[in-house]
Symmetry: C2
Subunit: 402 residues, 2 copies
Amino acid sequence: MGFIKTPTKGMRDFLPQEMSLREYVLNVMKDTYENFGFSLIGTPTVEHIENLTSNQGGENEKLIFKILKRGEKLDLSSENVNDLVDSGLRYDLTVPLSRFYASHMNELPSPFRAFQTGYSYRAERPQRGRYRELMQCDLDILGEKTCLAEIELITAVIAFLKKLDFQNFKIRINDRKILLKMIEYVGLPLEKVDSILIILDKMDKISLDGVKSELESLGLESSKVESYLKLFTNEKEDVEAFCNSFDLEQNILENLKEIMDTVKDVLNVELVFDPTLVRGMGYYTGPIFEISADGLSSSIGGGGRYDKMIENFAGVSVPAVGFSVGFERLLLLLEERGFIVPETKEKIAFVLKDHSKLKETCDEAKKLRSQNKIVKIVYRNKNFKFQKENLEKENYEIKEIW
Amino acid sequence: MGFIKTPTKGMRDFLPQEMSLREYVLNVMKDTYENFGFSLIGTPTVEHIENLTSNQGGENEKLIFKILKRGEKLDLSSENVNDLVDSGLRYDLTVPLSRFYASHMNELPSPFRAFQTGYSYRAERPQRGRYRELMQCDLDILGEKTCLAEIELITAVIAFLKKLDFQNFKIRINDRKILLKMIEYVGLPLEKVDSILIILDKMDKISLDGVKSELESLGLESSKVESYLKLFTNEKEDVEAFCNSFDLEQNILENLKEIMDTVKDVLNVELVFDPTLVRGMGYYTGPIFEISADGLSSSIGGGGRYDKMIENFAGVSVPAVGFSVGFERLLLLLEERGFIVPETKEKIAFVLKDHSKLKETCDEAKKLRSQNKIVKIVYRNKNFKFQKENLEKENYEIKEIW
């Protein structure tokens, strides 16, 4: 019998200290989001394979852990994967949320402020900071068509990050409608929008020249590529001037400005319009945003408006905005910073020489625990010095009983 | 594209109210167990298929959700299930805990007080109170060979259940060594121990006569079955007299009495020796116990000592005792009792007529939220009466802004 001691590939055990940090961060998050009126909901980790492979998940659909059918339904003579499986592990929380909302919208307030935490699964090649089992934390406002949704989401996430001592936030913001309009305006083919945006997304890595040559290698007309890229050399700080250079509809611009002005005013946080901000998912339909903070090379979260997605499940159109914070990345950053979870309870260890005083010790422990103190009862080890050191490392005050 | 709105079979979505009860119970549990010095640990939901199918899990092994291999490793021409899968969803927390401890024992205190919560998965036929995705909450003390482990586990679980207003606990206790000794004493074949104990376990359902006829239908000698069952008609209240009737070793009896006396003394809780208590799992090696409370027809938790199991993973012998509370059953009971989660925060809903006062409202909300109040900002719906009623149902105090 081959027992295997290590976790499955790309997944992790969490030791008490790691777990205590994870719990601490989750509790701060729950407490903060609760104050914004978000309600925690729950969805199963296992999702219908049909829902997972519906082209909502982009690249993630290639990384699904698929679950074998069971009993008579499993026909092993088939060589088609689709015949063998009926479900899979979710790769994000957005697909389950959409299914959840479609299923329960009549029982929920409208607009609905949803908060979900849970593990998602992606069969990626394991690497630092990328795991096959990853905690996700999503905030969504469903049924709110105005930018109140964007403002409240950004405000909630910043309130949470501030409580973990992150400082000097910077939010890059754009609108998918702007991305589309610019492509349309210079006459580039809209059917190539996905490829064009994937290249544009690399602007800060490969610069304008790199983007130019990659766009041309798509077979796009040079002159159109040039007029397209010229738009990006305009003054970006003044959103209005920038957007006017390609005749953007006034309402899109005003909506963006209202988000930027309100968040800046209320939170004193820097919002930067960035016309090269793309964000991967094709399901976004309006404003998109990413958040970073002091000492971070890249973003720790982001989101945007996806007004069409829930319709696939619900049959009716439901405007929606979501914001997801990269929980695992946040944990790495806190660990790097040497963040220590504040201990709030007194800790006492009763060390017994033998069991002659067991009852009295249990009685005493009961009293202290009811006063919300942490009490551990242990027998004296042969190597008491080592045992003592370890208990002290865990911050236990030691009381020897004999 | 076939989107499916309902959760996968036997699994559940949790609405905000349900989720809030689950969170409340989990938090009470975490807070209580923390006071007993238990450390929360984490293990992946996905486990090696080798570890899941190692005969530790009994009947549960038939209910595994198996995960298909991926990429080149998947050879669809095979018609053997074992060739197609490399992992599965855990069906309990004991297998992962054993693997975890074997993997990390050098980094953990000894004895180690472990606390784990998380979902397990069993492809059972769905029925009331039985789910394919179920929350499990396990307490274990690893590395403690004395009955201090049993006493502390029972004390911790009772402290937790008391905080949820459960009353008048009754703990049935037995020892697997007693079960074995009785079979051996009357000369019944020890190789049939599993079948014999499965039948004995039904004592309170089919009574002594039913047990007798089922044992005989196993092909066991009538006279031996009769002497076996005669043991159970002895006075059970006096453990000592009962156990002496079949020459039980003194140390087993003394150990059991020490658990019973100490728990009774310290907690004033009724402990009942029940020689027919079996508990399913074959891995138990010593004391076993089940807990019930007022108004419960059956138990809400149980556990026992399993001193041999971790050895399979660790290679060295590690004494262990575990106690698991049936979280889903507890939730059902609390819902039946109409248990309401206490609300601790003030709730305010700002209802805006239009966006002219959005900034001021965001400012005001920021202030109130920093005072730990729950604030929701919404726009006035067309049907304001309905909106108002719903907000009031959620206990929001409504402030209209115009």
